[in-house]
C-alpha cells in the first residue's frame, strides 16, 4: 500500500510485488536444474539420486512413522535449546550492555566462547555430563549463548537515555517499562538473535545427535551415512529445511512485521 503512495513512477509501483516471488521461484528452479544436471552427469542414484527418486523413500519413512518421530525429537531439542539460549544469552547480554563493570568481567569469556569450536564444546559436554539429554541440550545452549549475548549487548547499549529519563520522571511501573520501553527498543536485536539463533541451533543439534543420541534427524543421518544411503540422508535433511522455512515464514516474519509496524507507518 505504501509503495503506491511513495513510488516515483506509477508503473513501477506494482512491479516489486510480482518481481519478488518470481525471482525466488526462478532461483529455486535454477537450483533444481543444477541438481538434475548433476544427477544426470553422475548417472548413479546411490551417489546422487534425481529429485523424483526421493519421493518413494520419503513416503516410506512418513508412512512408517520414523520421519515424524525423529523430526519431532529434533524439533523438541531445538525448541528447548532455543528458549534457554535466548533467555540466558539475553539476560547476560543485557547486563553487559547496561553495566560497564559486568562488561569488563564477562567480555573475555564471551571472546573465548565465541571462538571455541562447537565440536569441542559438544565433545566436552558428553565427556563431562555423560551421553544424555542434559549434555546434548547444554552443549547446544553453551554454543549459542555467546552469539545471543553479543547481539543483545549492542541493543542494550543503544537504549535511548532520554526515554529512560521520561520513564523516571513519570514514574512508570517496572512492567510498563519492560513492555513498552525496553522490549520495543530491543526488538530488532532480539529478532536478529532469534533468526541467526534458529539457523545455528538446528545445525548444532544435528551434530549433537550425530555424535551421541539414538534418535533425531542427526542420528538418522549418521545411520544412513554408515549405510551410504544418500537418498535417505537427503530426505531427512530436506524434511528439516522445510520445517525451518515454515517457522521462518509463519512465525518469525509475521512477528517481525508486527513489531516493525511503527517504522513502516
Amino acid at each position: 500500500m505504501t509503495d503506491i503512495r511513495h513510488a516515483p513512477r506509477p508503473h513501477a509501483a506494482f512491479l516489486p510485488v510480482f518481481r519478488l516471488p518470481l525471482e525466488r521461484l526462478a532461483s529455486l528452479g535454477a537450483l533444481l536444474v543444477l541438481w538434475l544436471v548433476a544427477a544426470e552427469l553422475t548417472g548413479d542414484p546411490t551417489v546422487l539420486p534425481a529429485p523424483w527418486e526421493m519421493v518413494a523413500p520419503a513416503a516410506k519413512e512418513l508412512a512408517s512413522g520414523a520421519l515424524p518421530f525423529h523430526l519431532g525429537m529434533t524439533l523438541w531439542r531445538v525448541a528447548w535449546s532455543f528458549c534457554l539460549a535466548m533467555a540466558l544469552g539475553g539476560l547476560i547480554g543485557f547486563a553487559m550492555g547496561r553495566s560497564e563493570r559486568v562488561d569488563r568481567w564477562l567480555d573475555p569469556w564471551l571472546v573465548i566462547f565465541l571462538n571455541l569450536p562447537a565440536l569441542v564444546l559438544i565433545v566436552l559436554c558428553y565427556l563431562w555430563i555423560g551421553l544424555n539429554e542434559t549434555a546434548a541440550i547444554a552443549a547446544v545452549v553453551l554454543n549459542k549463548i555467546p552469539n545471543v549475548a553479543a547481539l543483545i549487548r549492542e541493543g542494550a547499549r543503544a537504549l535511548d537515555p532520554q526515554v529512560d529519563a521520561m520513564a523516571r520522571v513519570y514514574r512508570l511501573s517496572p512492567l510498563t517499562r519492560l513492555r513498552h520501553i525496553l522490549l520495543p527498543q530491543l526488538a530488532p536485536f532480539i529478532t536478529a538473535a532469534a533468526r541467526s539463533g534458529l539457523a545455528v541451533i538446528w545445525k548444532i543439534v544435528l551434530v549433537v545427535e550425530f555424535l551421541g543420541r539414538s534418535n533425531g534427524i542427526g542420528f538418522q543421518i549418521h545411520l544412513h551415512f554408515q549405510q551410504f544411503d544418500v537418498a535417505m540422508v537427503l530426505v531427512y535433511a530436506f524434511s528439516f529445511i522445510l520445517v525451518m522455512l515454515a517457522v521462518e515464514g509463519l512465525v518469525l516474519q509475521p512477528v517481525e512485521r508486527r513489531v516493525r509496524r511503527w517504522r513502516a507507518a
Binding site: A165, R168, V169, Y170, P184, V259, W262, A265
Partner: protein, 210 residues
C-alpha cells in the same frame, strides 16, 4: 511547595552550579533565563530528580511532569497510547479529551513518527498535563519550532497553565517566552552559575503582554 537549594554541582573538576536557592509555589510560574551551556538543563535534571549526584537539597511534590527539549515520545506506540501508558489512571475518554484539547483528536491511532514536530510537542504537552502535575518542568519546550507554531504552542501552554495551575518551572533562552508565561523571572549566569532575580513585572506590563 517546591524548594530547591543546590550548594554545588560539578562534573569531575568542572564546577557547573554554585549556590542556588529558589522556591515555586503552586500556581506560580518561575522562568529561568540564561545563555546556552550555562547549566540550565543540569539544574532542571536535579530538580526533576534525574541527577542525584549534587550537594544540596530539593523538596518536590509527589506528582511531577516534564516537557523535554525533544518531544521524547514512544515512537512504537500510538498517540493515544502515549498518554494512557504513561498515565495508567487516565481513561481512554479522558485521553481523547486531552488530544482534542491540543488539537490532535484525529491522530489518536497514529504513530508519533507520522506527526510534525509541532504536533509531537503538543502531544508531549498533553502528556505532561494528563497526570495533573503539582510541579511541571518545561525545558525549552518551543526550541526549533517555526515562529507561528511556537506562538501557537505558547498560547496553548498559557491556557493549560491557567486551567491546571501547577507550580511551573520554565527554562528558556527567550526573554519573550519567559515574559509571556512567568510570574517571576530569574537569570542563571556565571561560572559556576548562580541565580540572579530579575525585576518582577508590574501587573500592567503583564496585561499588555498577555
Amino acid at each position: 511547595m517546591t524548594a530547591v537549594h543546590v550548594q554545588r554541582k560539578a562534573f569531575g573538576s568542572l564546577e557547573v552550579l554554585g549556590d542556588i536557592r529558589f522556591t515555586v509555589a503552586p500556581g506560580q510560574t518561575l522562568a529561568i533565563l540564561g545563555p546556552s551551556g550555562v547549566g540550565k538543563s543540569t539544574l532542571l535534571r536535579i530538580v526533576a530528580g534525574l541527577d542525584p549526584d549534587f550537594e544540596g537539597r530539593v523538596r518536590r511534590p509527589e506528582r511531577l511532569a516534564m516537557v523535554f527539549q525533544e518531544p521524547v515520545l514512544l515512537p512504537w506506540r500510538t498517540c493515544l497510547q502515549n498518554l494512557t501508558l504513561v498515565h495508567p489512571d487516565l481513561t481512554e475518554a479522558q485521553a481523547m479529551d486531552l488530544l482534542r484539547r491540543v488539537g490532535l483528536e484525529d491522530k489518536a491511532g497514529v504513530f508519533p513518527g507520522q506527526l510534525s514536530l509541532g504536533q509531537q510537542r503538543r502531544l508531549a504537552l498533553a502528556r505532561a498535563f494528563a497526570g495533573r502535575p503539582e510541579l511541571l518542568i518545561l525545558d525549552e519546550p518551543y526550541v526549533s519550532l517555526d515562529e507561528a507554531t511556537a506562538a501557537e504552542m505558547l498560547s496553548l501552554t498559557r491556557d493549560l497553565l491557567r486551567e491546571h495551575a501547577p507550580a511551573t518551572l520554565l527554562v528558556t533562552h527567550s526573554e519573550a517566552e519567559a515574559r509571556s508565561l512567568a510570574n517571576r523571572v530569574m537569570r542563571l549566569d556565571g561560572s559556576p552559575a548562580r541565580l540572579v532575580e530579575e525585576r518582577p513585572f508590574r501587573p500592567r506590563e503583564r496585561e499588555a503582554l498577555a
